[in-house]
């Protein structure tokens, strides 16, 4: 008791999320929807694959009769050399046909499966691109990734083999039974006794085995989560001298994983022997009953031999049907997750009569209310006007509504009530793509895509020449540090890489925005500390960037705020004050106190 208590305690050191739901009940509607992805191939790949499979199956069915009944009974036993020659040649011919059809079968079936998965994944990815911010806010990046990559892959087998095998294996099974019955009905009935057992092993036992492997995989992924985390946090662990404690945790986790694995291994090792014993029972029936029938003259040796071949063939389709059954159950879980995403509608939809106008940059908020969820309102009836070419600083604490205003201007969300207007047009009447291509947003945590610096800046305007990219970098003061990198503009960078410092990333995103040349610029200033030298460059760059456009800055630095044409002071979703620095200082209100508090800090 005490030991399990201690073990539990150790295992509570870390917590990792664990998947639970494994498979879903069969759902026809969903299946039908999944199968609709086969439609584009219903006139070419699908029938072709089916055709080759039929040929392979047919040859496989025919051979035991040829070899058993004709070759043995007619040619060998009756010593008919001429018939033997003919039959051997026929067998060789059939094998050649099998070779051809198998080559094509593998090629076409794989093609079918890959094309369908390709289409499905493309459909899913393209759909996800259209979804709104809210969709991404509610989910972790990892969970979206798993659906686009892993859930689609898990359907691959179903489409490559599953659907076609389902059809052919039924036919094969019926074919075998039909042939056996026509050869010898009594013996067929006797042997069919083993069929239910085979079905049981193939579906039920296999399902149990699969479940226990899933358990292993779940434990394994927990183990891997911990490994990954312990590697990333190794410096913390060593600083806090927790190596021993972590070792103990890992040993327990490893042991837990081992126990689950052991269980799976045990079940797994039973599968083969079970099949073997069932087949053996079938063989015994064949030997016993068959030899009795031969004795009575109700069966020939050739039939007996054919039966022994067909008996071996029984297992194959049944096994595959069990496999398809399991694939379907797994496919249900995956397809449900995929369809959940596909059914997700973009919250911010393009209106059919959307106008494509070139905007000049005037922004009006008329009594705008907004809430991310029912519980809390992010904006309470805010109204203001930003004139063309003006720089506006948004000031306020976290949660005051600064980011919400920025999000509404680029229409990542629609206002709950009230109206957002651009150049006097309600924002919903403008083409979404057209709108966003004229607005640039520079986020605090600039995302760097893997690729060269050149490509990263060009992301703002894919049509820009190398020269234009370099000019943009020069304009924001990024050229100098880029030149100092190993391969200058062709240096490979990535999100998690440490080639660029925070300040340098910011400059890259400035260059990106400048290259996009937007009418409206939204900028979320960084709070993370940047060394003073880079900071000066950034301040300078900002001036270049703001020139000649409407700008909304979520500002943290007083120097930026002071130079703004207009300052909006926000608090809990309300616009408290507006005016320029001097006006607001003179007023002696919220802004005045905010500024004073910040300087008090410097003088601390």
């Amino acid at each position: 008791m005490e030991q399990t208590e201690k073990r539990k305690q150790i295992l509570e050191r870390f917590h990792y999320s664990q998947d639970v739901v494994i498979d879903k009940p069969f759902n026809w509607q969903q299946m039908w929807r999944l199968l609709s992805y086969l439609k584009p191939y219903s006139v070419n790949l699908l029938p072709l694959s089916f055709f080759t499979v039929m040929i392979s199956t047919g040859v496989r069915l025919l051979l035991p009769i040829i070899i058993g009944v004709y070759l043995f009974d007619r040619a060998i036993i009756e010593k008919d050399t001429r018939l033997l020659t003919v039959l051997v040649l026929l067998t060789a011919g059939l094998y050649f046909l099998l070779y051809l059809s198998n080559t094509l079968r593998i090629r076409w079936m794989n093609k079918l499966g890959q094309y369908v998965i390709y289409d499905l994944r493309k459909h899913l990815f393209n759909h996800v691109q259209t979804l709104s911010h809210r969709f991404f806010d509610q989910r972790s990046a990892g969970s979206i990734l798993v659906r686009i990559m892993n859930d689609t892959t898990s359907l691959q087998d179903l489409f490559t083999n599953g659907v076609i095998n389902l059809l052919t294996d039924f036919l094969l099974l019926i074919g075998i039974i039909a042939i056996l019955s026509s050869l010898n009905l009594k013996l067929t009935i006797a042997i069919m006794v083993i069929l239910p057992f085979m079905f049981f092993i193939s579906t039920s036992l296999r399902k149990k085995i699969r479940r226990s492997w899933q358990m292993v995989r779940m434990k394994q992924s927990k183990l891997n989560s911990h490994l990954n985390e312990s590697l990333q946090g190794i410096r913390i662990t060593q600083s806090f001298t927790q190596e021993e404690e972590n070792n103990e945790y890992f040993r327990q986790l490893n042991k837990e994983n081992f126990e689950t694995w052991k269980e799976a291994v045990r079940k797994n090792a039973m599968f083969g022997p079970f099949v073997e014993v069932t087949t053996a029972v079938g063989t015994v029936i064949l030997i016993w009953f068959g030899s009795m029938l031969i004795q009575n003259g109700e069966c020939t040796i050739g039939e007996f031999v054919s039966f022994s071949f067909y008996l071996g063939m029984f297992w194959e389709p049944i096994s595959r049907l069990g496999q398809v059954y399991n694939q379907l159950l797994m496919g249900m879980a995956s397809s449900e997750r995929i369809f959940e995403f596909l059914d997700e509608k973009p919250i911010v939809a393009e209106s059919p009569s959307a106008k494509k106008i070139s905007i000049r940059g005037r922004i009006d908020f008329e009594n705008v209310e907004f809430s991310y969820d029912e519980k809390r309102k992010a904006l309470h009836g805010v109204s203001f006007t930003i004139h063309e070419g003006e720089t506006v600083a948004l000031v306020g604490h976290t949660g005051s509504g600064k980011t919400t205003i920025a999000n509404l201007i680029s229409r990542f969300y629609d206002a709950t009530s009230g109206c957002v207007k651009l150049d006097g047009y309600p924002i919903q009447d403008l083409s979404l793509h057209h709108l966003r291509s004229q607005i640039s947003i520079v986020l605090q945590d600039t995302f760097i895509f893997s690729g060269t610096i050149l490509e990263n800046i060009r992301f703002g305007n894919p049509a820009a020449s190398d020269e234009a990219v370099i000019n943009a970098a020069k304009a924001v003061g990024a050229h100098d540090f880029i030149q100092k990198l190993a391969n200058a503009y062709h240096t490979e960078v990535e999100e998690r890489g440490n080639v660029l410092s925070t300040g340098q990333r910011q400059l890259i995103s400035f260059a990106r925005a400048l290259l996009a040349d937007p009418r409206i610029l939204i900028l979320d200033e960084a709070t993370a500390s940047i060394d003073t030298e880079t900071e000066i460059v950034i301040q300078e760059a900002l001036k270049t960037l703001l020139k000649g456009r409407t700008a909304i800055i979520i500002a943290h630095r007083l120097s930026t705020i002071r130079e703004a044409d207009n300052i909006f002071v926000l608090d809990h979703g309300n616009l408290l004050e507006q005016g320029n620095h001097d006006q607001l200082m003179r007023k002696g209100g919220v802004y005045y106190h905010l500024v004073k508090a910040q300087y008090k800090m410097l003088d601390l």
Binding site: L227, N247, I287, S291, F304, F449, L602
Partner: protein
Amino acid sequence: MFVFKKLKDVYLPYKKDFILSLLFLLLLTGITVVYPMILQLTIDEVVLGGKYHLVPWISAGFLAIMFLKALSAFIQHYLADMFGIKTVRRLRDQLYEKLQRLPFSYYDNAKTGDLMSRLTADVEGIRMFVAFGFTEVLRFIVMVTSSFCVMLYYSVQLTFVTIAALPFLAIVTYKFDKRVHPAFRGVRISFAKLNTKVQENISGIHTVKALSKEGMEIERFTEKNEKLKAAHLRTAGVWSKYFPLMESIGNICVVALLAFGGFMVTNGKLEPGELVAFYSLIWYMMGPIMQLGFTINMFSQAKASGERLLEILEAEETIRNEETIAKVESIKGDVEFKNVTFFYRSEKTPALNNISFTAFPGKTIGLIGATGSGKTSITQLISRFYDVTEGEIFIDGRPIRQFDLKVLRSHVGVVPQESFLFSSTIRANIAYGRPDAAMEEIIDAAKRAQAHDFIMELPEKYDTILGERGLGLSGGQKQRIAIARAICKNPSILILDDATSAVDMETEFQIQQALKEVMRGRTTFIIAHRISSIKHADEILVLENGKIIERGKHHELIQRNGAYKRIFDIQYKDRDIVLEQAAGRC
């Protein structure tokens, strides 16, 4: 085999499982070869010979043998698997323990992704080989020779006619394996590339949408998706070319068997039952031959995996307790650097160049300078995460190498630049350095770090579980928990490496206030970019390219009119104007 010899410590303790599994494998193979012989007996003796009274005996014997076969198959399979997973368990424990001990310098040059793939894929490679590789080789030998012997026993002539095509099978199989593995690797690489693309797209979706570049992203995705499809189809191409060919060679053997065997039976040189037995035996030989390529490949992969794992297991632990360590249990907090020069491995310029300073117990040292000037290196040497290249560090007057690492580090509290939190409760995260800390101590630490209030607003309060990488909290909140974690250790030396970078100015102000009290009685090192964070330090060191270029108290450095003053001017340039304005108003 050298690799496996070196790794023997991992699997030898379980050799009993292995040996037993081999014994059952022999039994299993023996029985398998008996099966066609029974079939032959049935046909030739019972059916053709008319000895029908033998039927019950043959049936019963057959059933008994098949049960025995099933049982030994189960035991063999189970034991082989157990041998594999026991080995994996031990291997993982050893790897994990080793990784916990390896020094920072090892991790500077290692990528998490690479280590992870060793810990997963390479460990799996070893398991596969240990569980199946060894036995597969033996199975091959036993199966092929015993089938061959039985065939020879029936008919020498027919045996050679039948197996004439087998060498071709071996060649085709070999070629197939050589081509199919690169193809599979191609699929894996394409998959990884597509995966990276999608991951990047989702992580950067706000940037994509902000710049309205969904179309471009779809293009890039489609290109990689096409490549994955092509890679899959290439693999299918290899399969479709070789697999039917391999099957056909087997079928050629069958046709040869039927033609030649058929004539032999008609000439009375062979019994019909023997022909049927041959028909089964030939597949017993072909199966393992088709497997052989797979086995060889498994071996070479396991060897490569073993090498990569040994690289970890044999990596040098450069930072270790010295032979003789002083029996010191507590540390007062006196830190002295004497002409310290330090190089990171693989770098040519020194990270620290002839640094000397003394921090007396309870005093505060401020470190300021551009990124890469050596601030963090100084603090990492104090915890002895690295050893100095030249010079010496003294703690409480004693060379740092004379301390027990655990004692030393448990007296140094570090708040790192990037606040890494573990997937655990907030309580456990704060108590990470002292798992036995009482709840009151944890709450006290959180209060001092200005974290208590926001923790109490969370649904589960101190029992809130932080997601992987501490998602769900803002940067400032994470930093405050990291500060509480360091305080909870009650260290005599406190290191704040840009600890308040992600909080807004107001919160920073509160944390600074709180830290003032926390710092009392501890030697504190503060790394910062903002002058306001370090201006009250007892000594400020201004670093540039690993050298101390200025040192002194705030007002001394201001008077000196050097680098420090320049930073000060930039940060404070508009303060005076604003304050004047403000003063004028009220």
